[in-house]
């Protein structure tokens, strides 16, 4: 009997990540000799982004790829991934996200079957006016998603929350002076058209973490040998996805440079100062998980060690 999977994707049809997901779908079909068929629905056409996770739980979609942050409060231990841990690249971040999942198998994901986790990094501050130091961020109005607002606050700037789709227009008009985004957004959200400087301070570098999940019931209906085949493919595709993020970052960087965006390097001292400023955010995360009886300290240590050992 053929099992049909409807796969909801955040990215539009033309996006390389959608293309990769479609490649995964083809490989799954081949590896299961057609017993599992996957149809992709790009651009949030099957589920609104804020509902994607729960839509998979409820079986509205059979699969989804979206942001962990769009299920706020639901995945507390995994919030470790979005902290300013000093991510160096999208490759490193994606490998870490998946390694973290495998190590901790957090119970918060129990209502779905995780295929793999990955994410966009490094996340930096990008400013409308040219700046020469991370210190100049003080007092600026910076767009940040709520989960990253503390990064901006601790740098002495004012965080402004707004929909991603408003960011371009607000930068252009000067409603905000800058924005906190992963590098990929320079090209992906066209932010490179409206900013002058990207402050490459790895002290604040965070990850926009993402999941690829399947409905539990659907997963259980797949024959064990086909499950194995899919799991093997997930390993391959986590690697491909990780590489893709680094490619996207490089391409965004080249594209933005052509648009006249300057990539500011930050001195060792400045970066050390930033790391100190970010420390309270990590403490807050650990305290939050402790209150819920979760091993946040262990998760944090695992991630920091991973970043140190896998440059």
């Amino acid at each position: 009997k053929e099992i049909k999977l409807r796969y909801s994707l955040l990215w539009p049809a033309s996006h390389p990540i959608t293309k990769l997901a479609q490649e995964w779908a083809k490989d799954v079909e081949a590896a299961t000799a057609g017993r599992v068929k996957v149809t992709t629905f790009p651009g949030n056409t099957l589920t609104p982004p804020m509902q994607a996770y729960d839509a998979v739980v409820k079986g509205i979609a059979d699969m989804a790829a979206n942001l962990l942050a769009y299920a706020p409060g639901r995945l507390p231990l995994s919030e470790v991934l979005q902290q300013p841990l000093g991510y160096l690249s999208g490759y490193q971040a994606s490998k870490l996200a998946n390694a973290y999942y495998k190590k901790f198998k957090p119970a918060e994901f129990n209502d779905v079957q995780v295929m793999y986790l990955h994410g966009a990094a490094p996340g930096f501050i990008m400013t409308k006016k040219a700046v020469n130091s991370i210190k100049e961020v003080k007092g600026l109005r910076i767009k940040a998603n709520a989960e990253n607002a503390d990064i901006v606050v601790n740098l002495g700037a004012s965080p402004v929350t707004m929909p991603v789709s408003d960011t371009y227009d607000s930068l252009q008009r000067g409603v905000i002076d800058g924005t906190l985004f992963p590098l990929e957004a320079l090209q992906g959200y066209k932010i490179g058209e409206v900013v002058k400087t990207v402050i490459q301070d790895y002290g604040i570098s965070y990850m926009t973490s993402m999941y690829v999940i399947m409905n539990k019931g659907k997963w259980n209906s797949i024959a064990p040998e086909d499950q194995k085949a899919i799991e093997a493919l997930n390993e391959v595709y986590n690697e491909k996805q990780a590489k893709l993020w680094s490619e996207l970052d490089n391409s965004a960087k080249t594209w933005a440079t052509q648009k006249g965006v300057k990539f500011l390097d930050v001195s060792k001292e400045d970066q050390a100062a930033t790391v100190a400023l970010m420390k309270p955010i990590l403490d807050k995360y650990v305290a939050m998980t402790k209150a819920k009886g979760l091993p946040g300290d262990e998760a944090l240590k695992f991630c920091l060690d991973f970043i140190r050992d896998n440059p």
Partner: protein
């Protein structure tokens, strides 16, 4: 029946007044945010409160909007029917509406417990989402009751019309 009708009307009005009050609050909050932001003190997460308030504004307006017949419908064909057929069609559509919103209210009720269990909260202020869900469930329940009210009115009109034709 009289008591029921009065109660529905009363609750609908209370909900509507609350919606209006929240809307005024949203105006004031945005105003403060814009002013303070230009002095360097933005209200972090104001977007979230506006979103939360908006959900309640929309939700609490549902029942009375139905009482005011504010929902869009195509009446081109129905208007052309004979009065008796028109009544029958209207009664049928009211019943469909009543069942639909009882169903929606019930599912929202279940969803409320679900959101409470999974602990979904807004990102900045960590306000739980489940109160919105229960509020919407309540609004949809009264939407359904309002449609029952409407149905009773339609049937009564029918009785009135019959009396008229008899006399």
């Amino acid at each position: 029946m009289k008591h029921f009708m009065a109660l529905v009307k009363k609750v609908d009005t209370v909900l509507y007044v609350m919606a209006g009050a929240i809307l005024v609050g949203m105006v004031l909050l945005t105003l403060c945010d814009v002013i303070l932001r230009n002095f360097g003190y933005p209200i972090t997460g104001s977007m979230e409160i506006i979103m939360y308030g908006g959900a309640l504004v929309f939700g609490f307006s549902i029942p009375l909007a139905s009482m005011l017949k504010a929902q869009v419908q195509v009446d081109l064909i129905v208007e052309k029917l004979k009065p008796r057929n028109k009544k029958a069609v209207t009664i049928a559509t009211r019943v469909v509406g009543i069942l639909l919103f009882l169903f929606v209210a019930y599912n929202f009720f279940l969803y409320g417990f679900d959101v409470k269990r999974t602990g979904e909260i807004t990102s900045s202020f960590k306000i739980p989402y489940y109160p919105i869900v229960f509020a919407l469930s309540f609004s949809f329940l009264f939407q359904s009751l309002t449609l029952i009210y409407d149905l009773v009115e339609v049937i009564r009109e029918k009785a009135d019309a019959m009396e008229e034709s008899a006399s």
